[in-house]
Symmetry: none
Subunit: 424 residues, 2 copies
């Protein structure tokens, strides 16, 4: 690997003691790597280093020796332990200079949000003399572009919502500008819910062999399954046709469990299927505590299809908000098919939505019994005048059970809206 540097090679660096200590989960690393990969870059390493200017400099120098693009995130803040600018200067054998103009931009930013700029923000106006700024529209930490041993080295701030738009700008202006457009080997992603990895593995086995091209890979996370078909065929056009064809075959074999292609999320697919069907939706949640509504409303424009949600955590709320008869709860217990059905019917009746989904279960860690164990969830769905119920038992801790139950509810709504509910 250290055998020098090809044109489209990259290394991604994250800076911060809190990352080394495992205190914070760094998500920038993979996000930057994926973006570079989409531009056809061979990402040769992801590395996390501490706050020291010297170790940052050392990591940048090592990365610049094996990659033509090096992207760092973190360490551009206003505090004493933000030393990426110092490390960058050292690696570039450059010195830090104070930039009045930049300080002006920072001051303007504080003025806009009506807050006083603190003295410590001054440090954010220092840059290596030969480095150029990358504007940060969402924060005070501007990014930096520098040259180290002929490699393009870019430093971006750690907060993802600040980093993201700056990364996009850098990739477009600097990376494509300098290395020309490029593309990753053609690939297709098929997303499904409610299937086990081994089942899917069996259904697509012939595409998973060693030499196979397109070759299929499977990843699973929180009940969401992703099948990726990638082709390295020399001729790009035929490679694209090939992954398309395999993608279609995979989708056919997985049937109605497939909710989308590419990077679409289950909640996006659910909102889309409601919109296509001209339907509106309302939620009645107990064990998931609002997570279903929260996932749906993460989707921009979900207000077109999502009317409201009731988080009826207490039994009193189940009766008062949804008209679930107290005796139904008494007789069958709050976690029961009868209550799930009554909740789904209640939310449709009181909200006027065309689809109503409900959840009641034991998220744990407490509250489990032999008959109603932790992980037991009853789902209800009211659509087209019919009420459906599903019983699932989910593994994992409280948060995992809640997320998987919420996704099961989303998928139930999606299939209800797309008329594939009964389909196996």
């Amino acid at each position: 690997m250290a055998a020098g540097r090809d044109e489209r090679t990259a290394v991604v660096l994250s800076v911060g003691e809190e990352l080394l200590a495992g205190d914070i989960r760094d998500t920038n690393r993979e996000e930057v790597a994926a973006a570079l990969r989409e531009l056809g870059f061979d990402v040769r390493g992801l590395r996390t280093v501490g706050d020291g200017a010297e170790e940052i400099a050392e990591a940048v120098t090592a990365a610049a020796a094996r990659a033509s693009v090096v992207i760092l995130t973190g360490g551009l803040g206003p505090t004493e332990d933000d030393r990426t600018r110092h490390g960058l200067a050292r690696a570039a054998s450059d010195e830090l200079v104070f930039d009045e103009e930049e300080l002006g931009r920072i001051a303007d930013l504080f003025a806009r949000v009506g807050r006083a700029m603190s003295e410590s923000n001054r440090v954010q106006a220092y840059r290596p003399s030969r480095a150029r700024w990358i504007e940060n529209r969402h924060g005070t930490a501007a990014g930096l572009r520098a040259e180290v041993a002929g490699a393009l080295v870019v430093a971006l701030p750690g907060p993802p919502f600040e980093m993201r738009p700056m990364l996009a700008e850098v990739l477009l202006e600097d990376v494509v500008g300098r290395f020309g457009p490029g593309a990753a080997p053609p690939r297709v992603k098929v997303r499904a819910h409610g299937l086990s990895e081994s089942i899917v593995g069996e259904r697509v086995r012939e595409f998973m062999g060693e030499g196979a091209d397109p070759r299929v890979g499977i990843t699973v996370s929180g009940g969401i399954l992703t099948v990726t078909a990638t082709s390295h065929a020399a001729d790009r056009a035929s490679a694209e046709r090939a992954v398309e064809a395999v993608g279609r075959t995979v989708a056919e074999r997985l049937g109605p469990n497939v909710y989308g292609r590419g990077d679409v999320t289950l909640e996006e697919a659910t909102v889309a299927s409601l919109r296509r069907a001209g339907m509106t939706c309302a939620t009645a949640e107990s064990c998931t505590g609002g997570l279903v509504a929260s996932l749906l409303t993460r989707v921009p424009g979900s207000s077109d299809v999502f009317l409201e949600g009731c988080v009826t955590y207490s039994n009193a709320a189940k009766s008062a908000r949804l008209g679930v008869p107290a005796e139904t709860i008494e007789r069958h217990g709050a976690v029961s098919e009868e209550v799930a059905r009554a909740m789904a019917e209640g939310i449709v009746r009181t909200s006027g939505a065309s689809v109503g989904v409900s959840l009641t279960g034991v998220a744990g860690p407490g509250g489990g019994t032999a008959e109603k164990p932790v992980g037991l969830v009853w789902l209800g769905l009211r659509v087209d005048g019919v009420t459906h119920a599903r019983r699932i038992v989910l593994p994992g801790d409280r948060e995992t059970v809640q997320l998987r139950a919420a996704r099961a509810a989303l998928d139930l709504v999606r299939r209800g809206a797309s008329g594939t509910l009964g389909v196996r």
Copy 2:
């Protein structure tokens, strides 16, 4: 950093092209780092490399030169692109040998789950001749212990539920066995909400200098600020006293914005303060779409204090569920102080909770105007017969605005319940 190797130093390596491509978010890295840190190891780097035996060998060799413990995850599977064992052998100048006993163990595993062992699993019975196996009770990929240039090098499989118990065994038997018990340098974490990093940086500046001990570091994520004081003083007892003292000073200087110590989350602190006050809580959300309720109900036992939540996304729901007068919405708009107040009063009236919190805002990306920009959120709090309102403007994309708004609401409830609402 490359200045050789101290006793308790470690490097964590992750292996896999899919990690370099950013297709999968690697969580092992931080998990292993945190576990090593708890044993008092100075984690000097986290690094992710591809599948090539050569690059794995190179990474192991480099890591072994700067750390006394190197832990790898991934690349022990049965497929062609699992080459961690090859890389390990190369780094240890050793050769792979076939281990009949291990193959027997793998065969038994397949027999137990009643599946046929595939020919490809044979490769998992190869190990560097001087390496020793680490049993995997949940999969076919056994781990490996080896020696490279005097460093302990451990390879574990990638799937977290397989890796975790094996890591625990390795840390206990090999790491503690060889380096003796140890503990992380004493540290105290102070958690706060609603303060900017730069403000806090100024208030605790004297503890942030490069030589300071205890030394304070600040991290901020989604509106949550963590100030960590760590001491490396030789005498542990005095180090503990020192970080305690600095922790207290920091907490005093940050005042009522501090919600807790250690790894407590804001939602946990909010539930705790409600419980202490003997209060119950209900939520009325618009722009956050159920996220506040969802965060509260992630906390085990939250059912003691959380009664219910209404996600009144549509204006009709605001009126129907919470009794917000339609003309109030018409006159002031759904995103307004008046509607936030009416929502908070409505949720308390209809739920009977002692605290009611409400949010209405523009989460974006659409829907912003000059007067009501994306990120504008009105919060309402009804407690002790008084209604409070707060106006905030949050930066970031939709998800960020929603998360920060939800946390602002949680903190409002926390301060309402603990009687520190007015305190600045």
